[in-house]
């Protein structure tokens, strides 16, 4: 049976509403899950290691005697790396090197060392940039256990200069993912604990006798992990709570339809809530992609997931021209945006909102997912309107530098005092006025 993908046409009345309906996604907030996470967090905060051990043994069906026994040593990580088939080890190494290169460049180009400047009266102003001391990386243990995610989360932290990167990864029934451990070795992760769930988030946020408190927790997890991260936000930093993954392909009709169909699959295969959308001004081309989808689907091992995802959340949108395609792309603010077109740069210049842009027909999203270099942790659910890929900047913070000279204090003191009186803050004024003398 052919896949029933929704087809929209921008020239029909009600198009914008139809598009909004396709994009609508509400993360179901489950009160029961939130309460369970809160209980576990409170328990870990109060009882530390003992609570972490109990929850881990219970939920992951382990029989560890102490949290220390849940730590995976450096040697085991290195052994996992050494044990990989040479071709896979080499691929992982190339990916790690390229991700590191890109993020080093990002650090350089985005003022990673801060700045200062001196004004005429000798006053120095600026910004000091420092890495976070210690970061926790959550790695899921189940179906979404991706070694590439270990690289993408840990490497920017190390490039930023984070002293200690602590990874947590649950190992239900004691099963370890060797590729994940190998990736941890390559990425320079400092310590690994086989714990997960809200108890792992709590351990990292509050610290226990065995697990050190971190300053920020990043990485995807299930609903309990997401709820726990929301709750510890403020005690530690967190990254975005990720929604389902999305790809938007803008195509001018010049790319092989099979390629575009496979690109849509590559997102749809992630999970049933993933979203794949094609936008194209060429109706005949859209039909070709649709035919290719139906021709290729049965060959895909994950065809059931792909079918569900394309049926429920996919769409093919016929537009007037590529300019309108770009307008719609800005409205959608997709996590992954492929501009599969001749001379893609002209369209890229019109894009204001996207997590990552893949330009030209050779830039399939999957190259970016693994090894192009830029981060694959990207803003989902239209949050690219206001947020950014995970980057070195997420593992650094800035401190303002204000070194006022004696002469500077005479000028600035008058201004500050005047405004402080205006706000009714006389001690602020007094403090400035002392420096006028």
């Amino acid at each position: 049976m052919p896949v029933q993908i929704r087809k929209l046409d921008s020239s029909t009345p009600g198009f914008r509403e139809q598009l909004s309906a396709v994009l609508a996604f509400e993360a179901g907030e489950d009160e029961a899950i939130d309460r369970a996470a809160a209980t576990i967090l409170a328990d870990v905060k109060a009882r530390g290691d003992a609570a972490v051990l109990e929850y881990t043994n219970r939920f992951d069906k382990l029989e560890a005697q102490a949290v220390a026994a849940l730590e995976i040593g450096r040697e085991e990580l290195q052994a996992a790396l050494a044990g990989l088939a040479p071709q896979r080890r080499e691929a992982l190494q190339i990916a790690a090197d390229r991700v590191r290169d890109y993020h080093q460049r990002q650090k350089q180009e985005t003022g990673g060392d801060g700045f200062t400047y001196t004004e005429a009266d000798g006053t120095v102003l600026g910004q000091k940039v420092t890495p976070l001391d210690r970061v926790g990386i959550y790695v899921p243990g189940g179906k979404a256990a991706y070694p590439s995610s270990v690289l993408m989360n840990a490497i920017p932290a190390k490039v930023a200069g984070v002293q200690e990167v602590i990874m947590v990864v649950p190992t239900p029934a004691g099963v370890k993912n060797e590729l994940v451990l190998a990736a941890a070795a390559l990425a320079g992760v400092d310590r690994v604990f086989t714990i997960g769930g809200a108890q792992a988030v709590g351990a990292l946020a509050y610290g226990t006798a065995t697990i050190p408190q971190v300053d920020k927790i990043v990485g995807p997890g299930n609903a309990y992990v997401a709820a726990a991260k929301r709750r510890v936000f403020g005690i530690v930093g967190i990254d975005m709570i990720a929604g389902p993954s999305e790809i938007l392909v803008l195509c001018d009709g010049t790319t092989d339809p099979d390629w575009v169909a496979m690109d849509l699959f590559s997102q749809a295969e992630h999970d049933e809530l993933a979203q794949s959308i094609l936008v194209c001004p060429d109706a005949a081309y859209i039909d070709k992609v649709e035919a290719s989808i139906n021709r290729q689907l049965d060959g895909m091992p994950r065809r059931d997931v792909i079918r569900t995802s394309l049926t429920n959340r996919g769409a093919m949108v016929k537009v007037r021209d590529m300019d309108e395609a770009c307008e719609i792309a800005n409205l959608i603010a997709a996590e992954h945006l492929e501009i599969s077109a001749e001379q893609p740069q002209q369209w890229a210049d019109k894009i204001r909102h996207a997590g990552a842009m893949f330009l030209g027909r050779f830039s399939s999203e999957s190259l970016g997912d693994y090894c192009a270099g830029p981060n694959h942790v990207l803003p989902t659910s239209r949050t690219a309107r206001f947020s950014s890929p995970l980057g070195v900047y997420d593992f650094q913070k800035r401190s303002s530098i204000i070194h006022v000279s004696e002469a500077g204090a005479r000028t600035l003191g008058k201004v500050a005092a005047e405004l402080a009186y205006g706000e009714g803050l006389q001690a602020h004024a007094g403090s400035a006025e002392y420096r006028l003398k």
Copy 2:
């Protein structure tokens, strides 16, 4: 009666625990407030303007007939600016200019235009930086209505290139703060609505017929505003939820004790939960500051607030030497850190965690609050361990650029396919392999 400020000595047993107790602050999360905010948000989402109008008329005791009547026009803002006493207008203008200069420098120095680089095989990688389209600024209407905050929130947004900055400020009983409106005019705020509370947050987050939806909401508010901001996070971006303000003064004993006493007052006068801490290796100097506090207190109009704040949350810490003072400063990760010392840079180099550093005896915090240039919206409650002053970067976001050449796709495609097979994602592999041919 002299102020009873807690005195600690780093050489006594139990010092770290005592210090932790001084720093401990739990923002009381009030379930009733959270529920009320949720109800208002849901109502604004469902009924738009009608709900905003009803809540505003009820809570702020107004009798507006339409949300449009709650908008303050550009002319009224300009009139407020023109109506200020010349000295005050000039002070506000100087502050705005200096804040703008600093943030322009920040934009330049932190890769505000993005970057790209080309690899040997022609693959282009990089990062595009774009401003947010539209930003909402919340300005409180009550005792904490600070024109300086309007400058500090709006100017970085405009420097970033935000097209439309929409300010909301409640006007209980119709009372407008002329200095706030004047600051809005100077800062280039595009539209102002006299609404506040959770209803204002809802209007900005969801949009109504009259009030456009924004991409991010920044600015401080009361507990209802904070609860509403937490709840709309994800639909729009938000800034940090600010805790009570703090100052930490590291002093080597060479600054006039009256100056330091007044600097401690300048934080303590904000509110009763504000925190002022002095750390110094010189016990005799600490005594002098204490004497000065008691001598100067009665002259302060806000002496009751200062007394309560210093008594309940203040501290004077005797340390071994300035090195230990820096260690403690890193532990505290203060919002405002004054290093009031000869040759302050040597100590500043040891500081890893602080919102803003004020170096040397002429750099009183109040100069930074108003007009030095750097932002006065800073991380509180030890969050300087992982977060930064409000800046241009908060009003920009980044998109990765990946433009793989045909030759590049041949190299990267093999790596990506190998790793995709390792993760069981065959469509990802297929998508990469199409580009190998």
